[in-house]
C-alpha cells in the first residue's frame, strides 16, 4: 500500500511539473510565432528593378526614411543610402554587406549603393555607424527579412 501511495505521489509530481514545463514551452512558442509574424502587415520596401529590390534610404539627424526596411528571403537587395544633412554611416548589425565598410561616412548629398542577397529570414537593427550629433544613438531602425 505504502509503495502505491509513493508511486502515486511521484506520478502526480511528475505530471504537474511536466504540465508546468509544457505551459511555459507553449507560451514561449506563441511568443516566438507572434514575433515572427509581427512585421507581416508591413509592405515590402522599394521596387523591383531588373530583378533587384531597390530601396532608396534617406538619413538625416536622427532618423531613417523609410523607417523600417522590409524584404523577402532570397531577394537581391540594392540599398541606395543618401545623407540629407550631416555625414552618416550605415550598418545592418549582424549582416556583412560585400564591399561596404560601415566606418565609411556618407557626406551630405552623397549616395552610397550597397548590394547583397537577403539569405536568412529574421529581424536586424539598422544603425547610423558614424557619429552624427547628440541624438546619434537613437538612429536605430529595423531590417526585416520575411520568410
Amino acid at each position: 500500500m505504502k509503495k502505491i501511495i509513493v508511486i502515486l505521489v511521484f506520478a502526480i509530481f511528475l505530471i504537474s511539473s511536466c504540465s508546468q514545463r509544457g505551459t511555459d514551452a507553449a507560451k514561449a512558442k506563441k511568443l516566438i510565432d507572434y514575433n515572427k509574424k509581427k512585421f507581416d502587415s508591413l509592405p515590402l520596401s522599394g521596387k523591383i528593378v531588373n530583378g533587384i529590390r531597390e530601396i532608396n534610404i534617406k538619413g538625416s539627424q536622427y532618423e531613417w526614411e523609410p523607417e523600417n526596411i522590409v524584404v523577402s528571403k532570397g531577394d537581391k537587395v540594392r540599398l541606395i543610402v543618401e545623407s540629407i544633412d550631416v555625414p552618416h554611416g550605415f550598418e545592418i548589425e549582424g549582416i556583412q554587406i560585400p564591399e561596404w565598410n560601415p566606418d565609411n561616412l556618407i557626406k551630405k548629398g552623397d549616395k552610397a549603393t550597397l548590394e547583397f542577397t537577403a539569405k536568412d529570414s529574421g529581424v536586424w537593427d539598422t544603425i547610423c555607424s558614424g557619429y552624427c550629433g547628440p541624438g546619434h544613438g537613437t538612429m536605430k531602425r529595423k531590417f526585416i527579412v520575411r520568410e
Binding site: 511555459d24 514551452a25 507572434y34 550631416v86 555625414p87 548589425e93 557619429y131 550629433g133 544613438g137
Partner: protein, 283 residues
C-alpha cells in the same frame, strides 16, 4: 575587497571591449569627427579645456555611450567626457595625477571616503537612484562603483565610478554615465516570466540552458529584458529576451556591466499586459 592582477584585468577589459565593439558600433566609436558641426566642436573643446585648465588642442575624439571623449594625450591617459547635449562634464581621466613612485598610504576605507566626496557632488535625484556596488584594486589605485536601479532592477550602462590613487589620494578618474531615460519612462514589471523567457531562448536557438543559471532582469534603455544563458556548441552565451513581448533583444554578451551576485527577477511581480494575454490565448 578583491585584488585583481593588472595583466589579467587588462586582458579582460580588452576582451570585453572588443566584444562590445563587435556587437555594437553605436556604443563606442573611435576617432569620430565633429567637423560637421562647428558649434558642437567648439563648445565641446571649450568645456574640456576649461575643465582640464589647459589650452592644449585635443588629439582625437571618441564616442562612449553618448559622451564625447576629448583626448589631450594618447592611450586613454588624459581625457574629458562631455555630454554633447549641454556640454556638461560627465567624467575625466588624468594619469598625470597618478603616483609615479611611493608606497600605499590610503587604505580602501580612507580612499572610499575620498570617492564618497565625489559621489556627494551628484544631484540628490541622481544619488537616490544609485547603489554602491564594490571596490576593485588595480595598479595602486582603487575603483569604486555605483550602479543605477529602478524597482530593484539594474539599468545597464547607467553607472558612476571614482578611481582614487592609493599612494597620493588623488581622484585620477571618474565618470557618471548619461541616464538615458527617467525612471518613470521605464518598464516597472515584466509581462512574461523568467521561465517563459528562458524557453523562448532555448526554442529560438534550439539549445539547452546552462545548468543552475537562473534568468535575471535588466533594463536596457527603457526596455526590461530577461537574461538567459545557453550552452552553445563551443561556449555558453547570453540571450536577452524582451520582458514585454518575448522578442530577442541581444545575443552574445550582456551589453553592459552586471555586478557580481546580481540576481533580481524572481521576486519582481509579473504583470501580464493585454497584448501578452492575447498572444497566450491565441490558437
Amino acid at each position: 575587497m578583491r585584488k585583481i592582477p593588472k595583466t589579467f584585468l587588462i586582458i579582460v577589459i580588452l576582451f570585453l571591449f572588443s566584444l562590445s565593439l563587435a556587437s555594437s558600433h553605436s556604443s563606442y566609436l573611435f576617432g569620430i569627427s565633429l567637423d560637421f558641426d562647428r558649434e558642437l566642436k567648439e563648445n565641446t573643446i571649450n568645456a574640456a579645456q576649461k575643465f582640464m585648465n589647459t589650452q592644449k588642442i585635443p588629439i582625437i575624439f571618441d564616442l562612449n555611450n553618448g559622451l564625447i571623449m576629448v583626448h589631450f594625450e594618447p592611450q586613454q591617459t588624459n581625457y574629458v567626457e562631455i555630454d554633447p547635449i549641454d556640454y556638461s562634464v560627465h567624467g575625466f581621466r588624468n594619469e598625470n595625477l597618478k603616483h609615479s613612485q611611493g608606497t600605499v598610504k590610503f587604505s580602501t576605507k580612507q580612499a572610499f571616503e575620498i570617492a564618497m566626496k565625489e559621489f556627494d557632488k551628484l544631484s540628490p535625484s541622481t544619488k537616490s537612484e544609485l547603489k554602491y556596488s564594490n571596490a576593485v584594486e588595480v595598479d595602486g589605485t582603487y575603483f569604486y562603483k555605483w550602479f543605477r536601479y529602478n524597482n530593484g532592477i539594474l539599468i545597464l550602462n547607467n553607472d558612476f565610478f571614482v578611481n582614487v590613487d592609493a599612494v597620493n589620494g588623488n581622484v585620477i578618474a571618474k565618470r557618471l554615465a548619461v541616464f538615458g531615460y527617467p525612471a518613470q519612462l521605464m518598464d516597472k514589471n515584466p509581462a512574461i516570466t523568467g521561465n517563459v523567457a528562458k524557453k523562448v531562448a532555448e526554442l529560438t536557438f534550439n539549445l539547452p540552458s546552462v545548468e543552475n543559471f537562473n534568468p535575471y532582469l535588466v533594463i536596457n534603455g527603457n526596455e526590461m529584458l530577461w537574461v538567459s544563458r545557453l550552452k552553445g556548441p563551443f561556449y555558453p552565451f547570453y540571450v536577452g529576451v524582451s520582458a514585454r513581448d518575448g522578442s530577442i533583444a541581444f545575443t552574445g554578451v550582456v551589453p553592459g556591466e552586471v555586478p557580481d551576485n546580481y540576481s533580481a527577477g524572481i521576486e519582481i511581480k509579473i504583470i501580464e499586459t493585454d497584448m501578452v494575454e492575447n498572444i497566450y490565448s491565441s490558437k
